[in-house]
Symmetry: D2
Subunit: 479 residues, 4 copies
């Protein structure tokens, strides 16, 4: 990011505005693959339920997200956007959005300082008087915006303990520094932000987990909608999205033959399931690691070897973390791996792999190409680390394909509409979208792929005790 | 069932006691495949938490169920058993159990009248004075015992409307006739039964559905545990059990080549998923029918054509119902099918297929062998109906294999223990076993198949906010 | 086989003629699944190219073979039949054939002495004068008829070395004893047989291998057609047949859950490929053993672990031999297996497993049910041996399904027609059916399963340099 | 290609020599994945069997080919190289090779005129006197070098009929123009080339087909080795290579979700098999088209719908040609496709799709990005054509991965060694490498992926009638 770009007079910070035409061409293609979002546009075109509502988004700035942004704008929102990952931006997508006048702050390959500055930019709606308003709604992915507001608000309420504490990682210190700077430059800012803030919809397992922890601790400031646990999100995006995008990331990064390789998938949740099945379909042998006996038994019933990471060292060719946990692959693991093993993460944060420890271990680092680094240990063995331990599908490829993201983002859009419509009714808890909307999201995607549904007769519906038009399943149903 | 057998002096009604040795040999084999049940036996061998408790079971009288029965006895229970399906009994299993002195009332190929008499027999614990006590706990599959007690009790409370109403099926009339007979022979019996009854654990989706309806209507008489919705039941037995046993039923019945055939699977719940994947793995092309857009989208993402039954008529070779609904395959459907199509049900009741209508349609019926009938229509086309529309895996093969049933039956056993332990604490609602027990059931099955779990470090557990030893997932997690 | 049956006045030896009706019903079903054979019947109904030709068959006496037999008869042949395996006969199939007056000598569970007597019976066409003629054509499976004739002829030519040599197995001695008896009872018989004999068509990899060895040694007495290596035989029957029938045999024998098990498939030829893929589809983990580096690399590319039998001892749950080799599973292997491992063979002869050594090892043998034996070793571990080491799909289930056998048997029928038509042109070599016939066999099976072929334009055919109507591929093409 | 580059003083024509370092890094990675080639380097390091032999290669100039080139050089050859496809060059691979002083003439995105000039350059070894010598050996892929030499030689022998005939395509005319130019500039050149030429090894099905046609017509000028039909080539590269690289090409080009799509794979040879299985594994429904009834039956047995292209129009989302035939997808097909269908070729030549007709059809062409074009028809529907109808895996991704190409290129290297060693023994026919070498190639790749082979005992080898160390299978064995 050169200095010139950062100081441009436009209300955006992106890589290259000249990529806008290319981005628009791919946006046109994506719209055909995102029937849910396009249907929502048509349905709410007149009513514009988010008319004038300030929405901040912090979510991978890809082509698919661009269709989401334009959907939110179509139904009336005033949108500002940042990415939620330093490597996940598609620069032509950002350019296409910026070219339409929507403020966007994202480029592929941000530093951590730049990343958090962008997040702040996305939060800062000019008030026309030289100051800034905060968002009324937030679209969050991983909870970084939610974290920043909560931590800023905590600081302004007088609790300085966190910002002055020792940091466990470089990124943590970057956030603290930012908050201290904001405290100086915009006194009382976070309190004003919280006053206007009506809710957040969260995309991921990890971010949702944080929200439930905040709510349990009585610290959650606004109503939140757990989009991740809509069936049409977690059982589709996490599972089928990763089934398509993991191999895509591996191939673009390494051009490696997957057949015949021993692949180790850490975690057998929805993401792990998608990854394990994809790798097997390519002819890889897959070892799954798990902490949960139920998921472990599922993996075993699907024919996977379930074992520990330790048991695979020296024979594993490819390692993929999918857990949402930290320290899943340690430095000691990596030092004991087979020569030229490939290591990557498709879970959430880069701390699934001990990247910091690797970088300070004395291993020699050779950059092969962007997002592909070779680390050679003193014993002569080397490993390849992809996307610096961040999401390999977004860092090394282009993330999930449009069709599956249309499901997730339809849920996001419906969640935003719901939060605004119920801003007076909801309290500071974590909500899930009603099953009827979940079924509706699925329904919007069936025609595109030629699915013909069967309709219940009234006798059958009565026999089952469900309405003809649904919802069809009890809430505990697992799909 | 010949008359002689019915009137034997022993407290059992089975096909042939001389099959007991063969049954015992297969029981020995099954025990090795049911580590969950064997572990529970060892754990509770001393404490005997069901000591002296009268337990009535109504559940397919197979080898696997025999291991369940002996587990319940090992932990102290006084057990009487019937099957829950006229074709599902394995006669050597029933013989092995009867030979040990446990009253069992079940044989393969009961009439409906015999079936309901057996159910009553299983409910009737001799009181030593020529009369009968009822069970204190019930193990139910499909809810027939629960239905009988509730309807009997309703009648004794003075509501004669149901027993005197017109019956929608032959079976319904059989039940009414039985209740009328009991009313004469054992006045006040059901009221006494209800007085002692402390709970029921239910095995199936269909039975659970009935329980929730009773509870919502305020009519449920005792606490119930929904065993079906333990993850280690519905996501294993329903899915992986059917993945193994559907083809087994088809093969033993018809010896048909599955590769190259067009198979139609009605319903894509857990049972349907297992069936569809099994058939595809054999090289069949599978068309899925669905009413629920979410399940339909899942099927489409797995590469199945999702269409209506009507669209398949004339090209479908094999039809399998998996829905829990009625009239899924109608007479009109069957009349329009391709010549020599195979029709079967692996859902729940035989009314998924319009068997009654078929039998009175004028189609010529030719029995090929037990549980395989060929119906030839006037147009010259024929279909094969398996197991008279009842569960094809139990009617034409031997049901689910032992290992997966060990999961289900471990849940059943834990549910029985839990119901008795909490008989004073629980109210007449439907409960689900706590996730900790669900995880425990899974854990009991891992060693047998060589699974090595990973253990969380305390730092990781703290990061995730879960105990090191679990439970690991929120209740809404779908696996 | 009781003595009464053996001495019946009819020209057949079977289990129970009263099973004929049941057999006929299943024959009717099978005919619908065997479009190739039925098409050949229609095509040659008038010409009857085998009119009056004496044909001896030695091939598993199943329902499918019954359709083959009736096809041969329909096109004019005078047929006598035996099975080629002591366990593979379906008694109702044999009964249905016997009931039509065709001499058949086969029942499930023959002794080796009975087996070879039956083979001789099938070879012995009454000459109307109290003596016997031999066949003019032979349908062979594994080469037992071919072996018997060659060895008998060798003996009559004065070479007594083999019949007087020490025997490596009990079966070898049985054959020698039979030849000595024939030598006494029917002097000069084999020489007369050879004089009339015009050819043999062979079904299996193993039998073909024997034929090539005879031909190379200059000892082959008649023209032979290698049916096994028609593409529509070996790439269908061996592969897709076993993909369906292995699990069928395992399930009927053991009712075992395959998911989660570790299965060891010895050999990755067409049979091994079908077995390995079937087991994996059930959720088993599969280890393949191979001697051939190319097949081993194929297995690895399909994601299978390729390792030695030794490496699996103690962890393998199921062992399947598919090799055509001997001593693949030794006594030492079996003694070191995990407790309750299942051992079976789907290759060719029972010597793939060291059954004789097992039987004399001192292990305690317990028969569970027909074709299922439990051997308990001194260390307390046990294994289950299926079908006494003979073909598990035929011994424990009903062999390959009809549709795939229709391909194999269409090749057999065309081979018989070809041998007779060219009896004067062919020499004592091993022939393969021309590719045009191979394609024709495939073509006869497409309509049944709804396949629509594309037709080459003349321009395209010219571009490819092939006729519009085929054959399309060079002889070395591997499919 | 700018003019400056074409006229550089070095003996290469590539995109950008500064990419050499990046190319070398990827070459280092590839070497680890190509154990066959590295083993051959070690084995022949001292003997250098191609010492001083002039070798011209015409084969996709990728990273993998670079490892082949350096292997040929390591064993002594004097190499010149061109690509065999205008889009398949990886510019960093070409740069890495050029930087070592090896003449290479290839860049991604050549015009047809440039392409054939490059082919001529690769054929032209400077004689040190300002003239050119031809190669002694040729590595060919698709037969372009072989074609050029044969046609040039034919012209010099006085047959001008072809060069003066009307051309069926633009490319055909380009070749003729080149030959006319050479005739003027280098009189007698082709005759001198042929005098030195000792053989060609050919990589592909299509090129091999041409060779057999030349041989049958008696026009083949040199011995040829059919590398394609080594098992370790066609059953690995064509099948497993495409299983990995088709989706890679589709993803990099279109980022399209494959799950739920209807994909049409034209042809079910090895390439089609790899493609169809890959697409299904992603959750696409696959329709296969075939002309050959045997391949069609294989597809049906694997559960694919086999139908005509016409039957899919309006419902197919993705079309892939794999046939080696021409006009498989016609303009009329494309005009009738569903809006936004994706069309690509992974067979051989771009004439599988009627690209020329599409370009002159009046459809509006919009370039989305390199190798991705959108054509909008007058009816408003559009299709996406990838790589202008040339190989999508090479045009839109990076071709097959290294490991599988190591098999193919090990065969190529052994073929080159064999041709030179037998240059006096071989005649102008098409040879296949002996099975022993085929097995050796496989063997060289086993250790890398952890395969443990089983070794025959001498008794077993005798029983099978094969040597302990192989070869193990008869020549007609199909794997």
């Amino acid at each position: 990011m050169n200095a010139a770009l950062k100081e441009n007079s436009h209300d955006y910070k992106i890589r290259d505005i000249s990529l806008a035409d290319f981005g628009r061409k791919e946006l046109d293609i994506a719209e055909h693959e995102m029937p849910g979002l396009m249907s929502i546009r048509r349905k709410y075109a007149a009513a514009k339920p988010l008319q004038g509502v300030r929405v901040t988004g912090s979510l991978h700035m890809t082509i698919q997200t661009a269709v989401l942004i334009e959907t939110l704008k179509d139904i009336g929102a005033d949108v500002r956007w940042a990415s939620c990952n330093i490597f996940s931006t598609q620069d032509h997508a950002a350019a296409a959005i910026a070219a339409t006048g929507t403020p966007v702050f994202a480029w592929k390959g941000e530093t951590l300082e730049e990343y958090w500055d962008c997040t702040l930019d996305a939060l800062s709606f000019p008030d026309g008087k030289g100051g800034f308003l905060g968002p009324q709604l937030v679209v969050d992915d991983g909870g970084d915006v939610t974290l920043l507001i909560h931590k800023g608000y905590e600081l302004e309420k007088g609790d300085e303990s966190w910002v002055n504490s020792a940091s466990g990682s470089h990124e943590e210190q970057v956030i603290k520094n930012l908050l201290k700077r904001v405290a100086k430059e915009r006194p009382g800012y976070w309190t004003r932000v919280v006053a206007d803030w009506k809710g957040v919809s969260e995309e991921t397992t990890t971010g949702v987990h944080r929200l439930y922890q905040l709510a349990e601790a009585g610290k959650l400031l606004v109503p939140a909608i757990n989009v991740n646990d809509s069936v049409t999100k977690s059982k589709f995006d996490n599972l089928y999205g990763c089934r398509e995008s993991l191999a895509d990331g591996l191939k673009r990064a390494m051009d490696v033959m997957l057949a015949g390789k021993l692949a180790v998938v850490c975690g057998y949740g929805d993401v792990g399931k998608g990854c394990a099945h994809s790798l097997r379909a390519y002819g890889a042998r897959v070892v799954v690691t798990e902490i949960d006996p139920i998921n472990a038994l599922q993996a075993a019933m699907e024919g996977f070897e379930v074992n520990t990471v330790e048991s695979t060292l020296g024979r594993g060719d490819i390692y993929v973390t999918t857990t949402g946990n930290k320290d899943v692959l340690t430095l000691a693991h990596m030092q004991a791996m087979k020569d030229q093993a490939i290591v990557c993460n498709i879970g959430h944060f880069d701390n699934e792999i001990q990247v910091d420890a690797l970088n300070t271990s004395g291993a020699e680092r050779l950059n092969i190409k962007p997002q592909v680094d070779k680390y050679t240990f003193k014993n002569g063995n080397a490993i390849f680390l992809l996307a610096e331990g961040r999401l390999v599908n977004l860092g090394c490829a282009t993330g999930h394909p449009s069709f599956v993201m249309s499901n997730s983002f339809s849920n996001q859009t419906l969640a935003q509409i719901d939060l605004w419509a119920n801003k007076d009714a909801y309290s500071a808890k974590v909500y899930i979208l009603p099953k009827k909307l979940d079924e509706e999201v699925a329904r919007l995607h069936l025609e595109k792929i030629g699915v013909k549904l069967t309709t219940l007769s009234t006798e059958q519906a009565a026999y089952l005790g469900v309405p003809v038009e649904g919802p069809y399943k009890p809430d505990h149903y697992r799909y």
